[in-house]
């Protein structure tokens, strides 16, 4: 699934091509469903959110700008936002993940590889508590206050932790650029 192929499909979708939307769906729905599962924390909710996301992609494909984002990241961001909207509409606090699932969320230590400027590597290099907080924040779409509740930390402590994490990430990315 190359970026060029997805970009071309998005261009066709912007022109109202139904077959292109179906192809785009076949290539990307497993990824978008994965993104929605994390942010919705509910299988039915994730399905609804993913459907909303493709309807949005259908309507907004013309706004996709290949210079500013990769096509898959653009689509994933739409899917994540749809799932966050779904979860907030349920007015419920996300159920905590099982311990085993929490462990699975921990990254392997980043080994040196091709040195691409990749935020994942920088996240993996953060202190464990910071790395985990960043990933919960991003994948589950939690705000400062939701994240504090999820991680059972006082809001002030959580905000300081996130500040350190964000500044460390910026430094990591800047050092690589």
């Amino acid at each position: 699934m190359t970026q060029a192929r997805l970009t071309a499909l998005l261009t066709s979708v912007a022109g109202g091509d139904h077959a292109a939307l179906r192809q785009l769906y076949d290539l990307t729905s497993a990824k978008l469903f994965g993104v929605c599962l994390l942010a919705a924390q509910d299988r039915m909710g994730a399905e609804e959110a993913m459907q909303d996301a493709y309807v949005k992609i259908w309507r907004k494909a013309g706004y996709f700008d290949a210079m500013r984002a990769s096509p898959i990241a653009w689509m994933c961001a739409i899917a994540r936002n749809c799932a966050i909207d779904w979860r907030r509409a349920q007015a419920r606090v996300p159920a905590p993940l099982e311990d085993a699932a929490l462990d699975a969320l921990m990254p392997e230590q980043a080994a040196d590889h091709d040195g691409t400027h990749h935020l994942l590597d920088c996240v993996a290099q953060l202190k464990e508590a910071e790395s985990r907080a960043v990933r919960f924040a991003f994948y589950e779409g939690l705000s400062h206050s939701e994240l504090a509740a999820r991680l059972a930390l006082p809001l002030g402590t959580l905000k300081s932790l996130m500040r350190r994490a964000i500044l460390a990430l910026r430094k990591c990315v800047d050092d690589r650029d």
Binding site: H18, A19, L21, R22, Y25, S29, A30, K31, L32, F33, G34, V35, L37, L38, D42, R43, M44, A46, E47, M50, Q51, Y54, V55, W58, R68, A69, I72, A73, C76, A77, R80, I84, L97, A100, A101, A104, E108, H113, D114, T116, H118, L119, L120, D121, V123, V134, R135, A137, F138, Y139, G141, L142, S143, H144, S145, M162, I166, L167, R170, V173
Partner: protein, 231 residues
């Protein structure tokens, strides 16, 4: 205080927090106003947003239920939506949602440079139940090793042996072999049957004459069934 009064670190923190989605309420409103008022700040938020897109690389792929497409096609006015495909997704939805609860996600930290995409670190799970009181079979399939683990409880004593089938959307059962009457069974699924274990399929159990190799087709009715779900 405007965003230009902030230290560079404060600005960067605010931009990063906005891009990560951490801000809500007044904090978010103030950051969004700052984006409109301050081009440098807006550019920093844009840089953060472009970077955070990388993080989606680590999200494991999970196949959505087959029925999901029909809703999208209907809402986007797809004229190519034909009745045959509707029948197909409706068939695939039988028993769906049996295991919708208890969703546990295993997020693997996938190398960003891993290409082609690695098989997602997911399990297929199912719980088989039927008319026999107390009979329950829990199944967990790990695609990476093609290993199917089953735990059986409450199987009554019979001269026949329980045989497990996977029933994909075409409705034709394929035998995965006979399983232990009580406790755990581990089956390495034959290559040809692995792709059948997906959320559009069901597991089913029939009571068959004891045999050392899988039967071609069931000779008795299914006594337990369960929809396959991916977690």
């Amino acid at each position: 205080m405007t965003v230009t009064d902030l230290t560079p670190d404060d600005r960067s923190e605010m931009a990063g927090a906005l891009a990560l989605g951490l801000l809500d309420g007044p904090e978010r409103a103030s950051a969004l106003r700052a984006m409109l008022a301050d081009r440098d700040f807006a550019a920093e938020v844009e840089r953060w947003r472009a970077r955070t897109g990388d993080l989606f690389d680590a999200v494991p792929e999970v196949d959505p239920p087959a029925r999901a497409w029909a809703g999208i096609a209907a809402r986007t006015g797809d004229p190519g939506q034909v009745p045959a495909s509707l029948r197909w997704w409706q068939g695939g939805a039988i028993g769906g949602g049996a295991l919708a609860a208890g969703l546990a996600l295993a997020l693997v930290w996938q190398r960003p440079d891993a290409a082609p995409p690695v098989l997602p670190a997911t399990y297929a799970v199912a719980q088989l139940t039927g008319d026999i009181d107390g009979l329950r079979i829990a199944a967990r399939y790990e695609p990476a090793s093609a290993t199917l683990r089953l735990r059986t409880v409450g199987m009554p004593d019979t001269p026949t042996a329980p045989e497990l089938w996977v029933v994909p959307a075409d409705g034709i059962p394929r035998s995965l072999g006979q399983i232990a009457r009580d406790g755990e069974t581990v089956i390495v699924v034959a290559e040809g049957h692995r792709s059948l274990i997906n959320p559009s399929a069901n597991f089913a159990l029939s009571m068959e004459p004891p045999a050392s190799s899988p039967h071609d087709k069931p000779s008795a009715p299914m006594v337990a069934r369960g929809a396959i779900d991916v977690i």
